[in-house]
């Protein structure tokens, strides 16, 4: 009896315990894997969201500077030159901004351009001193669309995708904002 009490578990008990342990281990491993994948997915989602958010945050204040003017014949020149009002949206926008420093009585204007090229959002500052003065506003976008809804309202849509860390799927973020050019409110 003493010996048998030291012998520990019976084979049946050991098998049952092993089976339970294996089951619990599998559940734990699966839970951990799920948690890790969830983490990776969230990081991926955040990454794409951050890209689109950054794009819109950088584009919006630059568009705010767009302003209409009038030509020598007194005809109003629109703030947005391209695209024209209405669909389809374009991946490039051209608009009029004043030349700094501004003389309020005789302001001079130049054309600025924002467009998407190889995933990078570029701003052609077109400054008088350097007509080729480009600046990269942000990178990692798959699509950028400008839809001009009226002479002072632009719908901007940014889309970014990054591949999932293991599967062949993609994380995608599509962010849209409506830019109301402030000159309208101040007329």
């Amino acid at each position: 009896m003493r010996r048998s009490s030291r012998a520990g578990l019976t084979l049946g008990e050991t098998l049952v315990a092993s089976a339970v342990m294996a089951l619990l281990g599998t559940i734990l491993a699966r839970t951990y894997t799920l948690a890790y994948r969830s983490y990776q997915m969230n990081v991926g989602k955040l990454e794409v969201q951050q890209r689109t958010r950054t794009a819109l945050q950088r584009i919006t204040p630059i568009l705010y500077a767009a302003i209409p003017t009038s030509n020598s014949a007194g005809q109003l020149q629109p703030a947005i030159l391209e695209p024209a009002v209405g669909p389809p949206p374009k991946s490039e926008i051209r608009f009029r901004v004043p030349v700094e420093p501004v003389d309020p009585r005789a302001p001079a204007y130049r054309i600025q351009r924002i467009w998407l090229e190889h995933g990078a959002v570029r701003l052609d500052r077109n400054t008088p001193s350097d007509p080729q003065d480009d600046r990269v506003l942000c990178q990692g976008l798959d699509a950028l669309e400008f839809l001009v809804l009226s002479d002072s309202t632009i719908q901007v849509t940014a889309r970014a995708r990054v591949p999932h860390y293991r599967s062949g799927e993609f994380h995608e973020s599509r962010l849209q904002t409506m830019v109301q050019l402030p000159f309208k409110a101040m007329r």
């Binding site: 951990y32 948690a35 955040l46 951050q50 705010y64 101040m186």
Partner: protein
């Protein structure tokens, strides 16, 4: 059995610890992700709030300036070139700094009031975002046609009027559209939009098409829906969007004191002795203002001599000649050379030469009973509007940079006239084939203390010979009276007008020409002061 149970309890503890560890690591992963999202959202929220707070400051400053201007004051208090406004929106505070922009020395003719407004959003004393705006106050000369008009609104014949520039009335318009007009080849009556501070009752667009003696032939259907083709025929390419009722009133000025001060060029009291006084300001030999004339002017003639501009002013039997060497040197009566950019004032055999040119402003305390000639350089001729003084145009008033009958192609010789009334002398020699040419922004009218408006632009005699006038510029009037008398549907006396808008007067108005309480935003720049969240 009891030891065996103890061993099993140990396994259960181990399992529980493992479970807890797994859950803990899961929680840690989530905690690592959540703050990123929260920070990004918080940053976006604060930046948006900061932007709207800064913009609120700009809008408030703009409204404040417009309110002052509407009351006839400078947009910021006189004597200062800066002013500061503060306010708050929810938890945010804003501070708007308004600064007057001095006249550009390289473009001294453009004297329109101009300002910058920089509004900054604060939270807890920390600056977050700023908005900078550059503004230029609009001139009255931007209108092709401005009219206060009588209580019944302005009556316009769609077929007999053509106004090819901005039109504004502080009441509303009544348009008589003859039958067949919509299908005719007649060009559109208006081209650049109509704004009205009032609106005709029961009209969908604020215009009365059912005016007396007219046909009720509106451009909308029985349910008030616009028929765009018809609208374009009356109001130009913009169609129904070219008519804006119930806009802000635009006030005529009640006086021309500002112009008097600029003409005299000094804060010192102006002279009271009858005659022509160059605006010497604080100097004794340099012209700093314009020309200040005390008393009635019998005749004023504008001319160009050797490319330089000359003004001849006759008061009673006294004639004064003012020559400004804008183009090159000239010869004085004694044979000496007058250097370029000088002003000579000559009375009989006596003359004096001052350095510098006038600011283009000619102000007269009395009536100008005869005005004509060829203008050179930007100029405004004004009289004491508050005292009801008038200007009478007696012959062609043209400009040196444009052949008579042609539309101006530049703004070098822009001319503005400001009076209580601007009269145009009747003359039977001015017919359709030989009209009287006037190149100017004509402003006749004032706002009276009781809120009424008086003064207008019209013929000296509505019963006088029918005179054809061809105006290249704009017309600003208090209350239009009839321009002539009719018989059998035909006008037989007074004056008829062919009006052609000169847009150069809008972008480059005559010096010190009265402004309206409206500011044009010429630039808008949004600046980050700092990141709203410290990453």
């Amino acid at each position: 059995m009891s030891r065996s149970r103890q061993e099993r309890q140990g396994v259960a503890l181990l399992m529980a610890i493992m479970f807890l560890a797994a859950l803990f690591s899961l929680s840690l992963l989530l905690l690592a992700v959540l703050p990123l999202e929260m920070r990004a959202t918080g940053r976006q929220k604060m930046e948006t709030e900061a932007f709207y707070a800064a913009e609120a400051g700009v809008l408030q400053a703009l409204a404040w300036m417009e309110t002052r201007a509407a009351k006839g004051h400078p947009a910021i208090p006189s004597g200062s070139d800066k002013y500061e406004l503060t306010g708050s929106v929810a938890n945010w505070n804003w501070k708007a700094e308004i600064g007057a922009v001095p006249v550009n020395p390289s473009n001294p003719d453009d004297t329109r009031p101009a300002y910058t407004v920089r509004s900054t959003a604060f939270l807890g004393g920390t600056r977050y975002r700023s908005v900078s705006v550059a503004l230029c106050q609009e001139s009255m000369s931007r209108f092709a046609w401005f009219e206060e008009s009588g209580s019944e609104g302005l009556w316009i014949g769609a077929e007999s009027f053509r106004i090819d520039g901005p039109f504004h009335t502080n009441k509303y318009i009544q348009v008589n559209v003859p039958s067949g007009f919509y299908g005719s080849n007649h060009p559109s009556t208006f081209t650049q939009g109509v704004t009205m501070a009032g609106a005709a009752p029961n009209s969908p667009d604020g215009v009365n098409y059912n005016c007396p003696f007219g046909t009720n032939n509106p451009p909308f259907d029985s349910k008030g829906r616009p028929i765009e083709e018809r609208y374009r025929k009356i109001f130009g390419e913009g169609g129904s969007s070219n008519v804006l009722p119930r806009v802000k009133k635009i006030q005529l000025p009640s006086h021309a004191k500002d112009l008097a001060a600029e003409a005299w060029g000094s804060g010192l009291p102006p002279p009271t002795q009858i005659g022509v006084h160059p605006g010497l300001g604080s100097s004794s030999n340099r012209v700093e203002g314009g020309l200040y004339i005390v008393g009635d002017v019998k005749k004023m003639t504008l001319a160009v001599t050797g490319g330089n501009r000359r003004l001849t002013i006759t008061q009673g039997s006294n004639t004064v000649e003012v020559l400004e060497t804008v183009s090159g040197t000239a010869v004085a009566p004694d044979g000496s050379v007058i250097p370029k950019d000088s002003t000579m004032v000559r009375t009989g055999d006596e003359f004096a030469v001052y350095s510098g040119l006038t600011n283009g402003l000619v102000y007269c305390t009395g009536n100008i009973n005869s005005l004509s000639g060829v203008n050179r350089g930007k100029r405004t001729i004004a009289v004491d509007v508050a005292q009801g003084k008038d200007i009478t145009i007696t012959a062609d008033l043209t400009r040196a940079d444009t052949s008579p009958g042609q539309a101006p192609t530049g703004s070098r010789d822009n001319l503005g006239l400001v009076g209580h009334n601007i009269w145009i002398q009747n003359s039977s020699s001015h017919t359709e084939a030989n009209p009287l040419d006037i190149y100017a922004a004509l402003m006749g009218g004032r706002r009276n203390a009781d809120g009424t408006v008086s003064g207008y632009v019209g013929p000296t005699d509505v019963y006088g010979p029918l005179t054809r006038v061809r105006l290249f510029g704009g017309l600003m009037m208090g209350d239009k009276q009839t321009w002539g008398k009719y018989s059998g549907g035909r006008q037989y006396s007074g004056m008829t007008l062919e009006s052609r808008y000169d847009s150069h007067l809008a972008n480059s108005p005559p010096p010190y020409f009265p402004s309206i309480a409206k500011f044009r935003v010429v630039s808008y720049r949004e600046e980050h002061e700092q990141s709203a969240v410290d990453w």
